[in-house]
Amino acid sequence: MSILLNNRTRLLIQGLGNEGQNQIRRSLDYGTKVVAGVHPGFRGGDSFGHGNHDFPVYATVSEAVEKTQANCTIIYVPAPGAADAILENIAAEVPLIVCITEGVPVHDMIRVRTALANSRSKLIGPNCPGIIQPASRCRVGIHPPDVFMPGNVGVVSRSGTLVYEAVDQLTRAGIGQSTCVGVGGDPIIGEQQQAILRRFNSDPDTDAVVLIGEIGGLAEQAAAAYIKRSMNKPVVAFIAGATAPPGRRMGHAGAIIEGEAGTAEAKITALEEAGAIISRSPAEIGSTMRRVLEEAGKYQPPGPPAE
């Protein structure tokens, strides 16, 4: 059932403010199994209801996990409390933590990464759209569900809206998705692109991967190194920012480590040398993938939805 999520995913939502409530309603409507909420002093009392669905709301993550066997948490907590929420989930040994929150201080993420290193938890995000798996109707994030379709292509991206853009093109080209992962756009995140590629590589439900990177940092080079070394499935890649003026996002600090490596051209070269197929235009990700799948004999025309 592809990577990270499956139909045994039992979702816990942390942060039931307005946005958290809106988003969890859409996940419930999509078919995601939400088993618990955590929100100290929740104004709705000790449960949250939406249509035919309802789930209990607890004050702490450890209590919610103990009572409901939740195995995945989505965090919508505002930035000042987001790192604390992640640490709480690490302490409760939640296996998969997804943090949507934008604007988490980088020093907080240094603490989080230290805690993660000695833990049983994996983190996706922060500042990301989350994960969605169309076949299991599992939406752990903020995605517009209508553009997604079950299928055999995995998507991994630093940018959230580019996940939607790429998936929209794939779906229009008749290509469904196994799992779509937005790893997040911040300097320090949990799992990076190459870790997601590794998961897709050993996933029987994924035949090819769309990789979307952007200028700055060295994550795409690490992904390219992994592709060269181990990837046995086609990767179609797009790097955003080829035409961006230099110097604004990459400050002095980044430049010291990266030098020229942060440019789109350097990333494209590294990925091309590793054997990835580059889509120069962001508008051609879907058509490029269609060609790649057809050449590999892996194109599966969309059929009636599987039961």
């Binding site: 201080p105 020093h107 995605h143 756009g185 235009s281």
Partner: protein, 429 residues
């Protein structure tokens, strides 16, 4: 967010990092007081956020673009000098009268500093830092930054200081030391002494340098900094160490813990349109050279939109990430910024709603067209959350707008609209 050198040195001093005696002045009275205390031999440094100020030049406003063009046509050019007639942003002086002769032009009403980093308008000078001159035996480099890949702080140091560390890294990478910091341990003095020893500092300087490095790490940790850089710190003639320059970058995301960093912020150093965008709560705005005004949600899609325009032969007038739109006045504010840019010949709105709802975006677009009396041709591409309602709102409003469902098609429409609009404005001239 960047702060001035004199502010960085206030932070250094408060954390026990040795810096030269001195302070910032904006009035002649303040300058005289500082000169009395720290003179006669001083260095006077223009306080601006842009780099390259030593090679840059202090001039009046009407000369900035000429100097700037000279600088960028010859990248190694030194336009300004440390002494002599052509005034750079860093000047040496001896005695009160000579020092005031250097101070006054920096603080004149229409004085600007132009460097390779400032752009053709230069930047205003916020203050002058007046400091004792230092006897320098050798210059070194030290910085602390965040290593995103490893998720921990990284110290970079070199015995080849006083020049661009990127240049040292290119020509002599072995001279650049990298020390990852265990965030639980921090950077205690013994680690600092070990680094001092690796840098080849003499025995007299090992202990004070170790303390200085540990204290600089405290500045980094206490201030939620994204960068602390000292280039150079020096070994003095007396055999101890001194931070004679200082650069600190603060993490905007942590400003809630530091009173918004208000006491450190200097709005005179920021682009007015970018401040306007920030006050309207717009994620991010950067002015560019082209003629197609862009409003996009998400930094990645905003960059991809620019890339697509260029591939279709167009030029974006700006980068604008509107962020998550859940109120339509935000769309109006974003379009106000775009419409006020005289370079904009066509407008391209590209929104793929996730958290953002595109029906609200559509309502904002309709209101903006009426409220702002938008004359430029408008291309709107909506997709994602509540897209059907969004398209209906646009259609029912009767406003003049071209739409497309796919990114490539929409970009082509925008490029053609800008061309037609340019031709029309030319034939009207």
């Amino acid at each position: 967010m960047n702060i001035h050198e004199y502010q960085a040195k206030q932070l250094f001093r408060a954390h026990g990092v040795p810096v030269p005696g001195g302070g910032a002045a904006t009035t002649e009275r303040e300058a005289r007081a500082l000169l009395k205390e720290h003179g006669p031999d001083v260095v006077i440094k223009a306080q601006v956020h842009a780099g390259g100020r030593g090679k840059g030049r202090i001039v009046k406003r009407d000369r900035t673009s000429r100097i700037y063009n000279d600088l960028i046509s010859e990248p190694d050019r030194h336009e300004g000098q440390i002494t002599g007639r052509r005034r750079g942003g860093v000047r040496l002086a001896s005695g009160t009268e000579e020092a005031l002769k250097e101070f006054r032009p920096m603080m004149e009403q229409d004085a600007r500093l132009v460097s390779i980093q400032t752009g053709p308008d230069g930047v205003p000078i916020s203050a002058a830092l007046i400091e004792q001159q230092t006897s320098i035996a050798k210059e070194y480099y030290f910085s602390i930054q965040v290593d995103g890949a490893n998720g921990q702080p990284l110290i970079v140091a070199s015995a080849e200081g006083g020049q661009s560390i990127e240049e040292v890294n290119r020509t002599n990478p072995r001279a650049v030391l990298r020390v990852p910091v265990d965030p639980v341990e921090g950077f205690p003095s013994f680690r600092g002494r070990s680094l001092a020893s690796r840098l080849g500092l003499p025995s007299s300087a090992i202990r004070p340098a170790g303390e200085m490095f540990a204290n600089l790490y405290q500045v980094f940790a206490d201030m939620d900094a994204s960068l602390v850089e000292v280039n150079p710190f020096v070994l003095t003639g007396e055999g101890t160490v001194l931070a004679i320059d200082g650069k600190v970058g603060l993490d905007d995301n942590a400003s809630f813990r530091h009173g918004g960093y208000e006491e450190w912020r200097d709005r005179s150093q920021e682009n007015p349109t970018e401040i306007e965008a920030e006050e309207a709560n717009i994620g991010s705005y950067i002015k560019l050279d082209g003629d197609i005004g862009c409003v996009v949600n998400g930094a990645g899609l905003a960059m991809a939109t620019m890339d697509t325009l260029k591939l279709h032969g167009g030029e974006p007038a700006n980068f604008l990430d509107i962020g998550t739109v859940n109120r339509k006045d935000r769309v109006i504010e974003a379009l106000r910024i775009i419409v006020n840019d005289p370079d904009v010949k066509a407008i391209f709105i590209n929104i793929f709603g996730g958290l953002a709802r595109v029906d609200i975006v559509a309502e904002g677009v309709v209101d903006a067209v009426r409220e702002l009396n938008i004359q430029q041709p408008l291309v709107v591409r909506l997709n994602g959350s509540n897209v059907e309602e969004g398209r209906r709102v646009l259609h029912d409003s009767g406003i003049a707008v071209q739409t497309a469902d796919e990114l490539g098609d929409a970009a082509e429409l925008a490029v053609n609209a800008a061309r037609t609009s340019k031709r029309r404005s030319r034939s009207n001239d």
